[in-house]
């Protein structure tokens, strides 16, 4: 069997049933294929119209098809008004070429960027081996919340933003589940998401937008662009009469899974959105950290990245 490009969902299901692997933008898969970390036959999803595009429900909430390009999400005016934390994240990740080709689904289900995983000299939990050479070797970009054998942070920026919204994922066979549940608790070192083989992600559903939501996204990097974040964070706040009424805060680059920082959110809700409250809330993010020998710096960086997005979200409006 070779690469196929079905035009219907049933066609996709059929091709997957005979051992195919979904391919969306191919921006990750093409490299994994070249490195021998992925094998075809591939089932191109681009021809299935039902999988792409943004839809709106009567209650004002959005459904984003899995093959919607990231650039389209970033540029969608209505999405920007309703879910500014999502569009800000989409606009800031990777590069224009990547955003144009890469899709929502591919972003959520991509492989992590551990340099040991992608180097053919090494084998690890993720590539069929039994250990984690990064844990005993170089892991300066690794996790600061040690959840299990693998130390590679989850790569998906959009997953982080969606977790911050409590969004849900629609799958073909398993129905609907929380986006957070695509990833579990990070203790499985063999994979970056928990969807079984042959499963298709259809779309992501967002909750009803919060009127007046303000948002900010930030990644800590050395260079100005096109660099994987050491830490990234996104915050969305609804502030009325100077008090935080609703909050969603999430972080990436620090754990095997995208993290929703509920402890930070709780420390904000009902409180005045002033500098002291924001800083104290951000400081709570550090408490869940269990850094590795080379990632101690991420503890403070997580706290301060969260502080930065909280302050910038609160400043708006």
């Amino acid at each position: 069997m070779s690469t196929t490009a079905p035009t219907s969902l049933d066609g996709v299901a059929e091709a997957l049933a005979s051992g195919g692997r979904p391919r969306a933008g191919g921006t990750d898969l093409t490299v994994l294929h070249r490195l021998g970390l992925a094998r075809g036959p591939y089932v191109d999803l681009g021809g299935v119209a039902a999988l792409g595009g943004v839809g709106w429900r009567a209650d004002g909430s959005a459904r984003i098809g899995a093959t919607t390009p990231i650039a389209e999400i970033a540029a969608d005016e209505r999405l920007r008004a309703a879910y500014p934390a999502l569009t800000a994240t989409a606009a800031a990740l990777a590069t224009p070429q990547v955003r144009a080709a890469a899709t929502l689904g591919g972003n959520l289900l991509q492989r992590n960027r551990c340099s040991y995983l992608r180097n053919p000299h090494f084998s690890c939990h993720q590539s069929g081996g039994t250990g984690c050479p990064a844990r005993t070797g170089v892991h300066a970009n690794g996790v600061a919340v040690d959840q299990g054998p693998c130390v590679a942070p989850h790569p998906s920026s959009l997953a982080m933003a969606l977790v911050g919204y409590g969004a849900t994922a629609e799958t073909r066979a398993r129905g609907t589940l929380a986006v957070a549940d695509l990833y579990g608790d990070g203790s499985d070192p063999t994979r970056d998401h928990l969807l079984p083989e042959g499963e298709v992600l259809l779309a992501v559903d967002l909750p009803v937008p919060e009127p007046g939501e303000r948002a900010a996204y930030r990644r800590a990097t050395a260079r100005t662009a096109a660099e994987w974040p050491l830490v990234e964070a996104v915050a969305r706040l609804v502030v009325t009469d100077g008090r935080v009424r609703a909050a969603g805060v999430a972080a990436g680059g620090v754990a095997r899974t995208p993290l929703r920082l509920t402890e930070v959110e709780q420390a904000l809700i009902g409180r005045p959105a002033d500098a002291a409250v924001l800083a104290a809330a951000a400081a709570l993010a550090a408490e869940r950290c269990r850094p590795l020998p080379q990632t101690g710096y991420k503890v403070g960086l997580l706290r301060d990245t969260v502080r930065d997005v909280l302050e910038r979200a609160a400043e708006q409006g």
Binding site: A5, T30, Y42, S115, Y297, L301
Partner: protein, 861 residues
Amino acid sequence: MKLTVNGAVTGVDADPDEPAVRTLRDGLGLTGTKLVCGTGVCGACTVQVDGVPRASCITPTAALADREITTVEGLGGEHPVQRAFAAHDAMQCGYCTPGFVVEAAAFVDGWRVEHGDTEPSREQIAAAMAGHLCRCGAYQGIYAAIAAACAGRHDEPAEPARVDAAAKVTGAARYTTDVRLPGQLEGVIIRSPHAHARVDAIEANGVPLVDLRPADGVVRYAGQPVAAVAAADHAAATAAAARVEVSYTPLAAVTEFGSALAEGAPLVYDTEESRKSALSSAEGANLPGRWQGNLHTTSGLPLPGGGTAERRIERARRRGDQRLVSAVYTTAVQVHSALEPHASVARFDDAGHLHLYISTQRVSAVADAAAERWKLPREQVHVVAEHVGGGFGAKANLTADAVAAVELARLTGSPVRVVLDRAEELTDGGSRPGSRTELSLLADERGRLAALTVDAQGDGGASTGSSVGLMARLMYGTAPRRIRDSDVLTNLPPGAPFRAPNGPQLAWALEQAVDEMAHRLGEDPISLRRRWDGNPKRRALYETAAALPLWTGRPATGSAAGRFRRGVGVAAGNWLYMASPKTQVELTVERGTVVARSATQDLGTGLRTVIANVVREELGLPADRVRVEIGSSDHVPGPPSIGSRSTTSVGPAAHDAAVRLRTALREGAGTAGREAPVAALLDGADGLRVTGRRARDRGGYLLPFSVADAAIGRGMSGAVHVTEVEVDTLLGSVRVTRVWGGLAIGRVYAQGPARNQAEGAIIQGVGYALFEQRRADPATGVLLTDNLEDYHLPGIGDTPEMEIHFHPDGWEYVTGGGVGLGEVSAVGVAASVGNAVYNATGWRPLDLPIRPDRLLEGINR
């Protein structure tokens, strides 16, 4: 499968899962699209898919079906962006240019539709070009070109800033990686997976194979070449390589600089014999020295006053003298990573001549070396490097790619191409050794330099040859000093000469120490340098620098408050002036055009343009009547593109040739021709040929002899960099916002390319200061930074606003009046960033690169 490319429907036999870049380049021969990183980071492979730029290395070929594909070839050459890139000199080597141009064309077209003919901001341009990297650092020109094209200023053709601009913006420029000869095979190098091992046997299993093992059969780093094989195409060659069985006896390895000198550490070179033939990161021969385990101490000429310097510093240390500045400074290994990897294509013709296409900075020397190695008469070796996609020092020899290609060509009887992939390039393509430098600087009670000691250890993996301390002999007067240079050997890939070898490592230590001394003495760092530095040309630069608003408006050190802190730092650079006295340029009149030839090459420095400019100016000819043909070892002798020698050597030889040609033309034309413009005389002079030479400098050179045609000239070239940074004290990043670069190099032969190169040096220095760091897995010695996602090159958004100032005086005794700038412009940049960070934060960074984690730890300590 059927593809619509550049408006035409073509059938191609392609694997739908292969990256599209392979299909376009290998399948369709559209070699304007370049393959560099293969991971979507650098943008060299960018093509438009239905008008939208896409990185074709991470696009499966299947995704091209039923789409309109536009490659750089399809833009035609008259797109305003192409004209703008040519006019604003938005390129050096040109290897990144097609990718930039294809992206920028879409951006500019879209911008003009949406915003009319207006200029976008720098930030907008940086955001649009975030998916592109230019290792040469031509970003300033790229900004200018895109802004001007958006504003509608390039709807008409304009004069290009360099003569090969048109070839570079259209993808027509042919690099070695683009060479495809009939019947050509693809070669692949088999490399050691072990950091240290004896190679016991190589079982070819029927695959045509050449042995590349080192003479003693021991490999000393992971990635060292062991053998090479060839097959019909890349996939077949990779498969063939997998069939070869190499048996190794692994040996204990040392993979960390910090543990190489420990008791009982495995030895990288353990026999007298192996030490004699140790790999070297230095240009030319191995430096002699003494071995103690993995420590190799270079026996340099002892300096008078060494003992005095040590004693003074020791006494000052004992009395706790505030005027003693003493610290340990370290730098990371920096990888050259030219965007065109090392590449060679070899062919033997029926007469037994070797034709070697190679990405090299030394066509002549490579031809000499090839003749010697394969025992061929020199005139039967033809080395070609038409366009070279960057080199920075690492492409100066008969490297493994060349050896493999030639030997495989001889073995198989077919032409063979060997192109390193990015992982190979970043592993074995050369690097600037890291360093650990203990430096002490003592001032006397009147603030004069009283003593200087330098103990520098090079971190060049399995190579010796580091001499960081060398330049410390040649700066800041004649106060007593003791300099010691050594190498600490490890089982990691070896270094290679890199633009101003050893210069930035020393400057990182010395220029920060001088800055610290100024701080201790309560003196302006520029005025301290003015007092200490005897170089008259650099003193002129200090005058100018001291008056810059950038400098006079700098904050008091440590006075800045708040999250974002601004600081300004200064550093000086010092470099040798070298020339190639045997350089010649030949001019021939061919069908009304003057053709200039020399066995030299243009790796982005603009040498073609230098020659063309000199000849045109002297003869008063329009652009289309001078053509430059370089990049072939068959021409009259020309200089290598190393040691900042090429321009200062070729310029005067071209001038001499032009003068001779005019004389010959006028003589040929008799009395009637005496007053005629040269252009009018060319038509009747077909075949007329003259050769120009570079006359000796007035007063000669520093040494009466020269080795390999490298004459060390009299006088040192100088640079001063004044650099502004903005430090984010919350998240730890440093942005270099403005840089003033003053260069004392005399005459500038080609303004645009010279400025461009000086700017590129700043950008590489910014990378060195903030981002670039080679890292290896300690257990295996395998590099983790063997890709451009993990090895961080500076991007367009990291580009400061730059101003380059050329100080014209001081080189009147040099033939032609100007010296090279490639190296001196690269020496002090990182140190000026370090001093600026200190000025901004009051914390002095001692270790490069200044990563966010280091900065945060430093300022929060």
